[in-house]
C-alpha cells in the first residue's frame, strides 16, 4: 500500500511527519520510507541507517556522431524542446533541455544520434531496524526531477512486496514533480499549517489531488497558530482531518537537531497513533 505525504506549501512538516510516522509504524511492523523530494531530500537527516544498496541513476540523451551525420536537419525539426540545434555544419545537443523522448535518435535516417546514459542522480537504500529507507538525490544543475522520481518509485515497486506500507515523502508545490510522486499512490496525506499561506497552498494541493482522483486526508501541523480556515474548509468539503500536531517550540528544536520527535513529545505520539490507525483501517478495507 502506497501513501504519499504532500503539502503544496514547503516547510509545513512533510519530512517531520514522514520520518516520525515511519519510525512509529516500524515499532510494530516493517515499513518502507522513500524520499521523493529529490531536489532537496531531507528524510535521511532524520532516519539514519546502514547502507544496503547504492546505484547511479541515468537519463538517456542523444550524442552526435559527426562522421555519420548527413546534416539533413530532421533531428532539429523533430525536437519539441529545442534540445537539438543545427548550427552550420554542427549539431549541438543541450542535455538539460532534453526530455529523453528518442524522437531525434530514432527518426535520424543514418543513426547519427545514438542515445547514451547521462547520470542525473543517485539512489541509496538504508536499513534501520524495520525501516527500509530509500532516497534519491538529483545532481545539482540538473533541472528535471521527474525522471529521477519515476525511477525511484520503480525501484521501490520492484524491491518490496505489495502489502507492506510504503510512505513517500513528496516534493512541495503542485506541478510536475508532485504529480509524478502522487499519481500512482493509493492514498495521499496533505500536511498543512493553519495560516493563510498554509491554507491557500493546501487548497491548491487538494484540487491537484482531486484532479488525480486520489483519496486524501489532512494533517494539521503547528496547530494553535493562525486561524480556523483550514478546519472550516475541511469540514465543508468533507475532508477527514487525521491529526492536529500542536505548535510547540520543543518540536521545532528537536527538528532542528535532526531528531525523531515522538519519543520526546508524548502529544506527537498520540497524533501519530491516530494517523497509524487510519492507515491500518484503510488497509483492512482494501483487502
Amino acid at each position: 500500500m502506497k501513501i504519499a505525504i504532500a503539502s503544496g506549501k514547503g516547510g509545513t512538516g512533510k519530512t517531520t511527519l514522514s520520518t516520525n510516522l515511519a519510525a512509529y509504524i516500524s515499532e510494530t511492523e516493517k515499513i518502507v520510507l522513500s524520499d521523493l523530494d529529490v531536489e532537496e531530500p531531507n528524510s535521511g537527516l532524520f532516519i539514519k541507517g546502514d547502507s544496503v544498496h547504492k546505484e547511479d541513476k541515468f537519463k538517456m540523451i542523444p550524442v552526435w556522431e559527426e562522421d555519420k551525420c548527413t546534416l539533413c536537419g530532421i533531428c532539429q525539426k523533430v525536437c519539441n524542446f529545442h534540445a537539438v540545434i543545427q548550427l552550420g555544419s554542427q549539431i549541438m545537443v543541450f542535455p538539460e533541455l532534453c526530455h529523453g523522448c528518442y524522437a531525434c535518435s530514432e527518426l535520424c535516417p543514418v543513426e547519427a544520434l545514438p542515445m547514451v546514459p547521462k547520470k542525473m542522480g543517485e539512489l541509496k537504500e538504508f536499513k534501520n531496524g524495520d525501516i527500509s529507507f530509500i532516497e534519491s538525490r538529483l545532481i545539482i544543475g540538473e533541472e528535471q526531477a521527474v525522471p529521477l522520481i519515476a525511477q525511484t518509485q520503480e525501484y521501490v515497486e520492484k524491491n518490496f512486496s505489495e502489502d507492506i506500507i510504503k510512505l513517500f515523502d513528496s516534493p512541495p508545490g503542485t506541478s510536475c514533480p508532485v504529480i509524478e510522486a502522487v499519481k500512482d499512490v493509493d492514498f495521499v496525506i496533505l500536511i498543512t499549517e493553519p495560516t493563510p499561506f498554509g491554507f491557500h497552498d493546501m487548497k491548491l494541493a487538494a484540487e491537484t489531488v482531486k484532479e488525480l482522483k486520489k483519496d486524501f486526508a489532512v494533517v494539521i501541523n503547528r496547530y494553535g497558530i493562525g486561524n480556523n480556515d483550514v478546519i472550516d474548509y475541511c469540514e465543508r468539503e468533507n475532508i477527514p482531518i487525521l491529526a492536529k500536531i500542536p505548535n510547540n517550540r520543543k518540536i521545532a528544536e528537536l527538528y532542528s537537531k535532526g531528531e525523531i520527535i515522538y519519543t520526546h513529545v508524548p502529544e506527537m505520539k498520540d497524533e501519530l497513533e491516530k494517523i497509524k490507525n487510519y492507515i491500518f483501517n484503510l488497509r483492512k478495507d482494501r483487502k
Binding site: T12, C101, P196, G226, N227, Y255, S256, G258
Partner: protein
C-alpha cells in the same frame, strides 16, 4: 535596475514573508515578481488588484482522433512516457503523463494525432496596496512547464521595470533546485538566501548555494529562527564565512510573523519595534551591496 532574487532551497523558511516586507519598504521604487508560481502566496500579503490577466500557453498535448485511428499501435510503441494506453479498445492519451514531445504524431501513419497547445495557467500584472507593480501567476492544476511560466513572470517584470525606470526587481523564488529555481536565478544581480538553523535548513542551503555558484552571482543570507538551535546557527554562520556569503541578518523565532500573516500583513506593518528594524536594516544593507 537591479534584480534581487530571494530563494531558500528548503520551503517554509520565510522567503515570502521577507520578500513581501521588502516590497512594502520599497514601495513604488520596486517591481515585484512572484516566481513561486506553483504555490504563489505573495498576493495574500500585498493585496494586488489583478488589473491585467492573461492566459499562458506552453507545451503541447497529443490528441488522438478516434475516427481516423487505425489502431496500429505505433504511437504507443514510440512513447517513452507510457502516456498512451488502450482503454475499451481505443488508444487514449493520459494528459498527465504526456510530455508533449510530439513523437507519436510524427510516426502516426494516418495523421490521426495532433498536438494541442496547452494552457498551463494565467499570469497577472497588478498594483499592490503599497503601490508597487506585482507580476504574478497561477499555474493550472497539475500543469507542467512551471519553469517557462517563471521565465514569463520575470521577463514581464523586467520589461515594466525598464520602461518605468524602476530601481529594483524583487523576485520571490520557489523551493528546490530544479527548473523553476534555475529560471528565477537567470539574470539576477544579487541572491538572498533565507535559511533556518536546522539540519535540513543547512543541508538545503548548501545544495541551493551550489546552484547559485553556477550563476556566478553575489549572495547574502538571512538566518530566520536563529535562536532555535545555537549550534546549528553557528554552523550556518561558518558556512557563510567560508563561502563569502554576506550575512545580512539573524531573525528570531517569533510568533509575530505568523500573526502578521494571519492578518494579511507584512511584518513591517504589523510590528513597530525590533522586528521592523531588522527588516529595514536588511533592506538598507541589500541596497548598499547592490549599489
Amino acid at each position: 535596475m537591479k534584480e534581487i532574487v530571494v530563494i531558500s532551497g528548503k520551503g517554509g523558511t520565510g522567503k515570502t514573508s521577507f520578500t513581501a516586507s521588502l516590497a512594502y519598504l520599497g514601495g513604488s521604487d520596486v517591481v515585484v515578481a512572484d516566481c513561486d508560481v506553483d504555490a504563489a502566496d505573495m498576493h495574500l500579503l500585498l493585496k494586488p488588484d489583478f488589473a491585467k490577466a492573461e492566459e499562458f500557453f506552453s507545451g503541447e498535448l497529443a490528441v488522438i482522433n478516434q475516427d481516423k485511428c487505425t489502431k496500429c499501435g505505433r504511437c504507443k510503441e514510440v512513447c517513452r512516457f507510457n502516456a498512451i494506453s488502450i482503454i475499451n479498445n481505443q488508444y487514449i492519451v493520459d494528459s498527465l503523463s504526456c510530455e508533449g514531445c510530439g513523437y507519436c504524431a510524427r510516426v502516426c501513419p494516418v495523421n490521426a494525432i495532433t498536438n494541442e497547445d496547452l494552457n498551463v495557467g494565467n499570469w497577472y500584472i497588478s498594483n499592490t496596496k503599497v503601490d508597487n507593480t506585482l507580476v504574478h501567476a497561477k499555474l493550472g492544476i497539475g500543469a507542467d512547464n512551471s519553469g517557462k511560466l517563471v521565465a514569463k513572470v520575470k521577463n514581464e517584470a523586467k520589461k515594466i521595470a525598464v520602461e518605468n525606470n524602476k530601481d529594483y526587481i524583487i523576485v520571490d523564488g520557489s523551493p528546490g533546485i530544479g527548473c523553476p529555481v534555475v529560471s528565477s536565478l537567470s539574470g539576477a544581480n544579487f541572491v538572498v538566501l533565507v535559511t533556518e538553523p536546522s539540519v535540513s535548513g543547512l543541508h538545503d542551503l548548501k545544495r541551493v548555494y551550489e546552484l547559485v555558484k553556477k550563476f556566478n552571482v553575489k549572495a547574502g543570507c538571512i538566518v530566520n529562527k536563529a535562536d532555535i538551535n545555537s549550534d546549528k546557527a553557528n554552523e550556518v554562520r561558518e558556512f557563510l564565512k567560508e563561502e563569502k556569503i554576506v550575512h545580512i541578518a539573524d531573525f528570531p523565532y517569533d510568533v509575530s510573523f505568523t500573526e502578521a500573516m494571519t492578518e494579511g500583513k507584512t511584518i513591517v506593518e504589523f510590528d513597530n519595534g525590533d522586528l521592523k528594524k531588522l527588516v529595514v536594516d536588511s533592506w538598507n544593507k541589500i541596497k548598499e551591496i547592490t549599489k
